[in-house]
Amino acid sequence: MDVARMNLFDLRRVLDAGEISAVELTSLFLDRITQLNPELNAFITVTGEEALHSAKEADTRLASGEGITPLTGIPIAVKDNICTKGVRTTCGSKLLENYLPVYDATVVTKLKKAGAVLIGKTNLDEFAMGSSTEDSGYGLTLNPWDRQRVAGGSSGGSAAAVAAGMAPLALGSDTGGSIRQPSAFCGILGLKPTYGRVSRLGLVPYAPSLDQIGSMARRVRDLIILDHYISTYDPLDSTSLPEPPPEIGDFPRKLPGLRIGLPKEYFEEDLKPQIKERVHTVAQVLEKEGCVLVELSLPSLQYAVATYYILAWAEASSSMARYDGVRYGYRATGEQDVLNMMMETRKQGFGAEVKRRILMGTCFLTEGYYEDYYRKAQRIRALIKKDFEMAFTKCDLLLTPTTTVTAFKIGENFTDSLILTPTERCTVAANLTGIPGLSFPCGLIEGLPVGAQLMAPAGQEGILFQVASFCESVGVMPEKEAINGL
């Protein structure tokens, strides 16, 4: 049975019909990982034993017919900055090489309760600080479409795993585009939910006011189901939203009359012309269905990346303070006093990109910089929010490219990685404003996937699913998938 190419609906059907057991299904995915992972390096840790154990439990559930959910017996890959009890969680850092979380992230608890099978922990840029998954302590992840190219990042391992059919579904995390950008580069769907919609308990923090866990899949319906099962109010996450998430299939609006905003700033400057063309094709398809295209402007967008750098790195400098060699993680040996032990531990334990962000973030929070940079960036965040609120009075959702380029060659971005605007320009605003953003594949350029991004007001994931679902049904997404070549 060619399970790697099957969507969730088909996997569900064969499992429920007893054509295959959950243990057999998990074994087939583990085989595929064994076959493909040595080269693609999407997984840092493959949890074969644990996966087979949960698959066995799923089989018991399936046999009894009780407590079956759409995810029962379905393998899922989890980004390695999401805590899994007793399964090492490295965050892509050598500093946490042997770290065994003592609790499951809320999303992991939810998935286990639903009967899902966690098949492994996926690669990422160290502590999710990067856009290519080249900067991991465990080697880089290759793009399944072209092994000379990066998978994107920081959730590059999850994106590559789903694109290559090593798992039908995956979880990622998104602070400035880390789910959407690798999803675009690998030709799959990725959702950054509304801030607070999915609990962050157990997500190792990078920039807590921007971080959000979200779902990655190859089909819209698969994405909707995974999103549904991880969305929850969590009293243990003080930023969790109390409102219940939308029901599956709750499509609140009709497409005809829906106003689609095209913010001109997203289609300017460095945007590759063929990407512009692809996204415009999506707009035309929607217009033909009766949607109304609205051209509009988000003038503050030009400040979004700088604002994001200041806020994310300032928060990161504080988030990273916990790695001091005392409670967990690596400790430098041979130091006689505690201060030198901490300074040496952090020197040896962190990679260059993490060090750079800690230093820059520390700077933004020092006297002389705090008012002019950190506080000012917080005010600009309010300005960007206002601009988006204004835009959403003129339209119901926004359509933009996800990235201004397709997957770049390995090493291409690394030499000048200080400013990564081409890959972050389109995605950071959703994190700054807390709104949901969904990237879906909308075609190929020279054999590489292109991502289109939809954004809606906070809490309105449903409308994103509805539009993406329509686009999928009319064949906007490429017929060809990376999986076909593997």
Binding site: Y303, G325, V338, K347, T362, Y373, R381, I419
Partner: protein, 97 residues
Amino acid sequence: MSLTEQQVKALSFQARLQLTAEEIVSFTAQLNKILQYVAIIQEVSVDDLEPTIYGVSLTNIWREDRVRLSLEREAVLANAPEQENFCFKVPKILEED
């Protein structure tokens, strides 16, 4: 605004991050390049806007002060580089007399 090597050294101490002499030189150049880029925010006037901490509006959340299980002590300590008598152990923090 730009940073001197002396200032980067001071930042590295604040961040409890030991840097080599070469790192101080290279990070000073890199940090100045980033500062130059983010200076773009200085051109916009936003004095009339309140600083925003979260993208979505959040209100304070209360909960009952109820006794509940915390994490298992042994499991938590098992991740520590060094432990003794159910405590995290670190190199000495006080000078001897």
